[in-house]
C-alpha cells in the first residue's frame, strides 16, 4: 500500500507506557472520504491510537502520515489540528467558564494567530453557522449557559458541536453516543453519515446498534493491533472478536 493516496496512513506503529505495550505494530489506512468504525475491547488501544494521530502521544516506532505526505509524528497538537484533524474526546472536555456559544466560537474554523484573534470581528456567516450548529446539537436555548452547568450528555453534544464548527477534513470521534438515549444515538448516526459524505471519519464506539446504523467498514483492535477488519457482520462473526469483545 502506498502512503500517498490515502488520507490517513498508519504503519507499524507501536507505543508503550512503562513497559506496557498499548499499541503494538498497528497498521491502518483510511481513504479520503471514508468513514470507519473502530471497535475493540476496553484497553485495546483505540483512544491511544487517536492520541497518536492528534499528536498527544508520540509513537515509539512506526509511520503516521496524513494526506499522503504529512508526517504527523513531526507535528504538535495545534499544527495537526490546523492540518484539518478534529477530535472529540472520550471524556467530554469543554471550556467550562465559557458559554455554550463561546465554546463554539472558539472551535469555529478560521484564522488562529494571536493577532488575528485580537482584531477579529464576528461575521454574519459565522453567527449563522454557530446558530445552525446550536440547533443541530439541541443546545440553542442553553447557548448563554456556562458549559460547566451542562449535564454529562449535554457536554457530549457540545463537543460534537465543536467538532462540527471546526470543520475538519478528518474527524476522530471517540465514543460519541455514550450517555445518549437510543433516539439520540440514531440521530448521531445520521449526523455522522451526513458528514461522511464530504469528510473522512474515524468513529470509536462500543454500541453495536450504532455501529450497525453507520453501515461502514469496521476495524476491531485488540491489544494494540488489528484483530479483524471488514463489514460489521463479518467482524462480528469472527470467533476471536466474539471471544475478546462481544461475548456470548
Amino acid at each position: 500500500m502506498n502512503a500517498h493516496d490515502t488520507l490517513l496512513y498508519l504503519d507499524g506503529v507501536s507505543v508503550s507506557f512503562d513497559g506496557f505495550r498499548a499499541i503494538n505494530n498497528l497498521s491502518l489506512v483510511l481513504q479520503a472520504g471514508e468513514m470507519r468504525a473502530i471497535i475493540g475491547p476496553n484497553g485495546a488501544g483505540k483512544t491511544t491510537m487517536m492520541d497518536i494521530i492528534t499528536g498527544k502521544t508520540r509513537p515509539d516506532a512506526g509511520d503516521v502520515y496524513f494526506n499522503g505526505e504529512v508526517d504527523l509524528t513531526k507535528h504538535d497538537e495545534a499544527e495537526i489540528a490546523l492540518l484539518g484533524i478534529g477530535r472529540k474526546f472520550q471524556k467530554p472536555t469543554v471550556f467550562e467558564s465559557h458559554t455554550v456559544e463561546d465554546n463554539l466560537v472558539l472551535a469555529l474554523s478560521g484564522p488562529r494567530s494571536a493577532f488575528s484573534t485580537l482584531f477579529h470581528r464576528q461575521s454574519r456567516d459565522e453567527i449563522d453557522r454557530i446558530h445552525e450548529i446550536l440547533y443541530t446539537i439541541r443546545l440553542y436555548d442553553k447557548r448563554v449557559w456556562l458549559a460547566a452547568n451542562l449535564s454529562h450528555g449535554q457536554k457530549q453534544w457540545l463537543e460534537i458541536g465543536m467538532l462540527l464548527a471546526q470543520d475538519p477534513k478528518l474527524l476522530l470521534v471517540d465514543e460519541p453516543v455514550a450517555g445518549m438515549t437510543d433516539a439520540e444515538t440514531a440521530e448521531t448516526a445520521k449526523l455522522l453519515r451526513d458528514i461522511a459524505k464530504t469528510r473522512s471519519v474515524l468513529v470509536v464506539e462500543h454500541d453495536m446498534h450504532f455501529v450497525r446504523e453507520l453501515g461502514v467498514k469496521v476495524t476491531c483492535l485488540h491489544e494494540g493491533s488489528v484483530l479483524a477488519e471488514g463489514s460489521l457482520d463479518f467482524v462480528s462473526n469472527d470467533q476471536r472478536v466474539i471471544e475478546v469483545y462481544l461475548g456470548r
Binding site: 492528534t54 498527544k56 504538535d76 497538537e77 495545534a78 489540528a81 490546523l82 478534529g86 477530535r87 474526546f89 472536555t93 469543554v94 471550556f95 467550562e96 467558564s97 465559557h98 458559554t99 463561546d102 466560537v105 472558539l106 472551535a107 488562529r112 494567530s113 494571536a114 493577532f115 484573534t117 485580537l118 482584531f119 477579529h120 464576528q122 448563554v144 449557559w145 456556562l146 460547566a148 452547568n149 465543536m162 471546526q166
Partner: protein
Amino acid sequence: MMTQWFFLHVDRRGSIVIALLVAIAVLVPLSNLLLPVTSPLHVPTYLVSLIGKYLTYAMLAVALDLVWGFCGILSLGHGAFFALGGYAMGMYLMRQIGPRGVYADPVLPDFMVFLNWKELPWFWYGFDSFWFAALMVVLVPGVLAFGFGWLAFRSRVTGVYLSIITQALTYALLLAFFRNDMGFGGNNGLTDFKDILGFNIQAGSTRSVLFAATALFLALAVFVTSFIVRSKLGKVLVGVRDAESRMRFLGYRVDRYKLLVWTISAMMAGIAGALYVPQVGIINPSEFEPANSIEAVIWVAVGGRGTIIGPIIGAVLVNFGKTYFTAAFPEIWLFALGALFIVVTLFLPKGILGLYGMWKGKRADRAARKKDVAPPPVAAVSGRSPIPEPQAAE
C-alpha cells in the same frame, strides 16, 4: 466613529473606570495646584504622591490580572518587570543629575565614584536620553518576559511550576541587583534624583504632572486590557486558562498566545515601575523581593481576579490599608492586614468586586425561586465561580 470603536471594545464598567481615571488625572492636580491650602477640596501634595503611588501599584495589578485572571498564569515574579521598568527610569534620572552629584563627577553617578568605578559601564549608555530610557522601560521588561516566556511556554511549563520559576527569576534578580558589582547601586539603589525632562522632580507642579500621567497610563492599561479581554483573543485566553490542551486540539498555538499577553503584561508592569520611581524618589533591589510580587497577587485577589476593576480596587485598598494601619496601629497592624486577607478569602471568594455580583446573584436567585422558573445561569447569577481554579497541584 471613534467612540463607537471604543465602546465596542470596552464594556460599561470599563468605560466608567476609564472616565473616572481621566477625571482624576485632571482634577487632582488642579485641586492641588489651584485651590488654596485651606479649601476643603484641596488635595495636599502628600496625598498626590501617595495616590500616585497607589495608582502605579494598581497598574501593576492590572498587568498581573491580565495574565493571571484571564489566562491563568500565576506570576509570582511580576515585581521583577515593575522593578526593571523602574530601574530604566531611575537610570535616566540618575544621568540627569550630571555634575550635581556629591562628587560632582560629570559622568559617573555617585555610587560609582565612591566604589571606584573608572568609567560608565556600557549598559548605562543612552540613558541620558529620555526617549531612550522610555524605550528601555518597555523594552527591558518586554525582552526579558519574551525570552523567559518563550522558553517556558514552549516547554509547556504551567501551574505552580511556572509560578515558582517566576519567583526564582525575581529572586535571582534581587540577589544580582544587591551586588554592587552589578553597577546599579547595590542595595541602596538609585536615588537623590534632581529633575525629569528638565523639571525639578520635587516641585509640586512636576508631581502633579506625574500624577496625571500615571492616571492616564492606568486608564490606557485598563483600555488595553478591556480590548484584549473582550476580543476573541480574550476568549482564547480564558479557554487556555480552563483547558489548555483542549485549546491546542482546536488548533490554537497556546504558547504564542501566552507569550503575547505575558509580554504585554510585563511591559505594562514596566511602565508602572517607571511611573513609580520619580514619585517615590528611589528604586532599589527590594522591589525585586518575592514578597512584593506575592503582595501584588494579593491585591488582585482582594479586588477580584478576572475582572478589570478588581485589581485597581484591590491595589488601592490594600495599600491604603497599609498606609493607614502602619500609622494608626504601628505595633499590631499586621494583625489587621492579615485578618483582612483572611476575611476577604473566606467571605468574599470573588474579591471585593464579587460582592456586587453576589448581591445581584442573590436577588436574582430569590426572585427565581419565588417564581419557580429557572433564569439562565449566566456567569454572574450562577452560584459557581465563573473562574474555576487552574489546578495548583495534581
